[in-house]
Symmetry: C3
Subunit: 162 residues, 3 copies
């Protein structure tokens, strides 16, 4: 079995930054145009972080909704198709849910599947800031998943650090 | 295909806060009363953040367990039922797991399903603080999922910011 | 139904720390040795946090990849086997995916399953720091899941606080 415990390197390269702590925030609106669609937020987040003036710290990206998720993955057209298809299959829209049943619920959107898909993906993302930019790997994009659109969605972005 | 890359708005409304950075923390205990139950932590977190005196920053909510998850969703009785039902179906309790097999494991709780469900949901949540309050959307609640109760659970909450 | 809303304790024990805010970061490399393997990062993260000098705050652990996840769970050999087995079953490697089809994609790794598994697990983890150490429960370990190895993986760790 290859699974193993890792030790820290003996002489790691550690960088330290000090300065005045600041919190900088904004809201962005996304008009979605399908029941299930993906949107690449990376440029919007990068632009905001660069304009925030924060050199080192972190940025939070929060969906203020319960049927709209945020996650990281590769932004490739074929893979976007696979992700949408997987999300649609993961939780069936047509199963019985009390949330969709007027005997139990006053929600007329019949969107229990959207709630459960968001639950599994998460609605908040926290990213590092270094050298005045968001730390993302070469193939990483920040992706918003609309799971019960079309709607106007509100995303709150807050950068914190030096 | 509606999937698209988004740009930041040209003149976003950006707010900046500066001041002395502080870290404020507490522990809360939750006595759960079923093997699988959900608890709404939103009021407890809001009360703590308001009493912390932090105006802008973030708050972390961490389960210190491996069979007890924390996530965001709508707190509606019908949907709570659906979430519990979905979590029970997602990973079968009765499948074979080495963790439940005395030949492989000294754990006598037979709770491999609880570990795997927690794994999928996550045990930590990070939320924004603005205007001295937790930033949550209208329908968002912070929910603790007991997945192997009843037990007393410990949740550590830490607010950081200005 | 046991599900309930919780109130904050009336006189919680709240601790406050103030001081100069700092950001301390490092990179670690992990050479993985199988297509799907788990690695325990807890010691590496603890060692880094202790050497960072930060007493109170948080630490972020970020995989800079899209087929390599980070999460918390118990580090027990039997359970590690169950987690690997569950991750392999959760999303089939042999299903049809456009990402694996030369007609749609130039990716020759045929790793759509690895992308989807990472998507479900998450690539970033945020942990609290208190008393100059990472806050983890007795049974919690920070685990890196290689989902498309063997490869050299880069993990960026950043501690922020006082």
């Amino acid at each position: 079995m290859a699974s193993a415990s890792l030790k820290a390197p003996e002489h790691p390269n550690i960088e330290t930054t000090t300065g005045e702590y600041r919190v900088v925030s904004t809201m962005i609106k996304v008009q979605t145009d399908g029941r299930e669609e993906l949107y690449n937020l990376s440029n919007a987040i990068r632009d905001f972080v660069r304009s925030s003036g924060i050199r080192a710290g972190m940025v939070m990206v929060s969906s203020l909704h319960t049927t709209c998720a945020i996650f990281i993955n590769e932004w490739q057209e074929a893979l976007i198709h696979d992700v949408k298809s997987y999300l649609s299959n993961l939780i069936s829209k047509s199963d019985y849910y009390r949330h969709n049943d007027p005997a139990w619920s006053d929600c007329d959107r019949h969107n229990a599947d959207s709630h459960l898909r968001s639950l599994m993906l998460g609605m908040n993302l926290t990213l590092q800031i270094a050298d005045s930019d968001v730390v993302l790997g070469e193939w990483q994009s920040v992706i918003l998943a609309e799971l019960d659109g079309p709607r106007e969605r509100t995303i709150r972005i807050q950068a914190m650090g030096i």
